[in-house]
Amino acid sequence: MRIGVFVCQCGTNIAGTVDTRAVAQRALDYPDVVFATDYMYTCSEPGQQEIQNAIAEHRLQGVVVAACSPRMHEPTFRRAVEKAGLNRYMFEMANIREHVSWIGQDRAANTLKAMELVRMAVEKLRRNEPLFASEVPINKRVLVIGGGVAGIQAALDCADAGLDVVLVEREQSIGGKMAKLDKTFPTIDCSSCILGPKMVDVAQKENITLHAYSEVESVSGYIGNFTVKIRKKATYVDWDACTGCGLCMEKCPSKKTVDRFNEALGVTTAIQIPFPQAIPKKARIQKDACRYFTTGKCKVCQKICPTGAVHYDMEDREVVEEVGAIIVATGYDLFDPAPYGEYGAGRYPDVITGIQFERILSASGPFGGHVKRPSDGKEPKDIVFVACVGSRDKSVDRPYCSGICCMYIAKQAILARDHLPGVNCYVFYMDIRSPGKNYDEFVRRAIEEYGVQYIRGRVGKIYPNGDRMVVQGADTLLGAQVEVEADLVVLATGVESSRGAKELAEKLRISYDQYGFYMESHPKLRPVETNTAGVYLAGACQGPKDIPASVAQGSAAAAKVLALFARDTIATDPQVAGVLESACIGCGKCLSVCPFGAIQWKTLRDGSRKADVLETVCQGCGLCNATCPPKAIQLRHFTDDQILAELDALCA
């Protein structure tokens, strides 16, 4: 093999504390090195040209560049050597800037270290093999999991671009949390007025297949070629026949069913359409509330249904969808304030959560938009909002900021004042977080125009006094304990990961943080990608987000899918594991440890079973390589021999 070594001075960044000339000179003593030089800026256009010239002139078969971190310029140099006719993997970098010149002043020690790093790179390169990406066809259908506003946006953007979209929603209707909101901050526009048309769009797009009241059962395959099993849960109503006329709801005798859409503030029927704008607008029987299912007698809805859509014997069924990419938009859940026993949520009917207050404000809510308190239906005169219930609090394992509470408190206080101009609103807060566009102005309006009283401090206790509640807390600005009497207390419960998020993550083989929020590929530069190729994130499943951010991410995820689908095939990274079949003993240890399910069995003609890597699924972590006892499975470009060569270059 003929190797060329290029030692970059990086101006004085490297040459300042490393004798680059000596490093290049020393490289000529290493095996297979036939050319070595130093250069002021190897990554510059002329620097790259120099490499390309040397490849031609000295018939180089491999190139080592000693310069900055490969995380910086490896792609640059790979392209450069490729242009000169070498395989891009016949290239190695020695990091003599971040790991040498920038961290030590001793020129002699640095130079020695740089020499050894070059030697390691040379010895590895001597074991490199040309690698070639393979191309796999892309199935240009996309699965969106979650029909909240982020998922809806992603689905619509994809559908608008002409893709076939499969949208899976766990609940009976799409719309998510946003569908429950009355107005949105900071514009106070009607939530259902802006979301509704989008929901209708979803229903009307022919290229969107909506599976509502359905859940993802399993995911297999890889980018471009996923197979997804979806369980359509039994609704006991044939949705093809149901027209959403609502007759069944009128006649259903089980009228005391807890209304979950209204956050248990009201009642509904056992057969139900959750809210008037529901998409799909189809009825479903809530089995545990249904008289027929609980007593065996009733069947009123079946008799009354004009289209005969009710089928009590319906069972869950499974559908299989083949897609090329997946957008995960499973949203969030709200913190259950039960751990804060001192606040009395659940014990006192007039201590409610923010989302409950949202339903109270809503014209389609349990009180028809009249602000009343749940206990006795009286209009409140004093309302206290408590911020950070389940946010920024380590004691309940929620140390993070939920990001939206400050804003929705301000909105709800403003709306309360709009509905009941005489009401007094108090907000107990820790800090006000209002970093969005027009957000701070919005909070200021609440304070200045609407006279909402902000008290900086934690609430210690909430207890009843007669038919009112006493909110006891600190005012840290006054440095005093304060008490506020209120008719209604709204706990601004924080955002937490959606229930079932971890289980879904495991099906998708994506990672999640300790709170169950999905991990993006890079916190800044790859915010909607996951580490599983072909799976993208949108909305609050990745972390607390408000509506504009969720919508933006929905569009961003759609853009990623469209970019992926712009090609007919995808090139797979060839730095993946490969099996030397003759050495594989069929022990299956690699299959059991692979985090991506990228290894499967292959049966040879003689009946023996061998591990087989799905190169498009393999992410190149090398866990299988470390696990394989006879080392039959090797991670290309990081093989045992390559790593041992680096090690041996250093000590033997």
Binding site: M1, R2, R59, Q61
Partner: protein, 280 residues
């Protein structure tokens, strides 16, 4: 016996230099090697069929037939298919690189006994290499031999070695029949497996010796085919391969019964093969 260019240490390779490398097929390269000592090169003698051990120092040695003919002595030619550690290392070498050579080793084709006879070569893939040395020897001494027919096949046209000299073979009066396993665009020669083409061609066994080399499965069917055509065991020659280390009959691994392929072979007649224990 040909003169053995060696000192008293048969393990010590002679240094040579790669003069030329030819990429024959995607995984076969041909190396043209010249011994560094001009006197040694001038004195080097071998017989067709003999092998040499090529050394990549630091990796090891491997055995290959010298596929250039003794009649052409400006270089020694070896063709190497990339299969293992040493062959992978050989494929990484460049023109001008040094290389170690221990040669000639092993027996050879009985050229004198073949004089005056019609010859049939049946080769598959890299198996053409040992045939080439004899074929070119005969081409260079054309008048001493009768009809020379070559049936040479590979999986695809690009898997045929020595394509660049087929014309030369034909010009020397060789009846060259080429075949590939299936149809390929632009391929105008035969299509089909070598044993099938052999059956179709059916060269008469009268006064003819068949020499065959190729993958084991091909050999198996070619031997059966030749039998069918009436060839006697002593009219069939083939070459055997075994894992070898020393190449000089000592290290003990290349035996088939009491026959050591490295010193008793690689060339065997079918008569000899039949006498061996069945451990192929």
């Amino acid at each position: 016996m040909p003169k053995v260019v060696t000192n008293d240490n048969p393990y010590l390779p002679h240094m040579g230099t790669i003069r030329e490398i030819i990429q024959e097929t995607p995984n076969i390269k041909t190396f043209r090697i010249v011994l560094d000592d001009p006197e040694e090169m001038a004195a080097f003698r071998f017989e067709p069929g003999q092998v040499g051990q090529l050394s990549v120092f630091g990796v090891g040695e491997s055995t290959f037939v010298i596929n250039s003919p003794p009649t052409r002595r400006e270089y020694l030619q070896f063709s190497v298919m990339k299969t293992g550690e040493v062959t992978r290392a050989l494929h990484r070498l460049s023109e001008g690189d040094p290389i170690g050579v221990r040669a000639p080793l092993g027996n050879s084709f009985p050229v004198d006994e073949l004089k005056g006879k019609d010859i049939l070569f049946v080769g598959g893939g890299i198996g053409m290499a040992p045939l080439r040395t004899l074929l070119l020897t005969m081409a260079d001494r054309r008048e001493e031999f009768g009809d020379i027919t070559v049936i040479y096949g590979a999986r695809s046209p690009q898997d045929l070695c020595y394509r660049y000299e087929f014309d030369e073979w034909k010009a020397a009066g060789v009846n060259l029949i080429l075949t590939v396993d299936r149809e390929f665009p632009g391929w105008e020669e035969r299509v089909g497996f070598v044993p099938t083409v052999l059956a179709e061609e059916a060269p008469s066994p009268f006064n003819r010796v068949a020499i065959t080399c190729g993958p084991p499965i091909m050999i198996k069917f070619v031997l059966a085919g030749l039998k069918e055509l009436g060839y006697e065991d002593d009219q069939i020659l083939t070459t055997l391969e075994r894992r070898m280390k020393c190449g000089i009959g000592l290290c003990g691994r290349c035996n088939i019964g009491d026959t050591y392929v490295c010193v008793d072979g690689p060339v065997f007649s079918n008569t000899q093969l039949r006498r061996m224990v069945s451990e192929l």
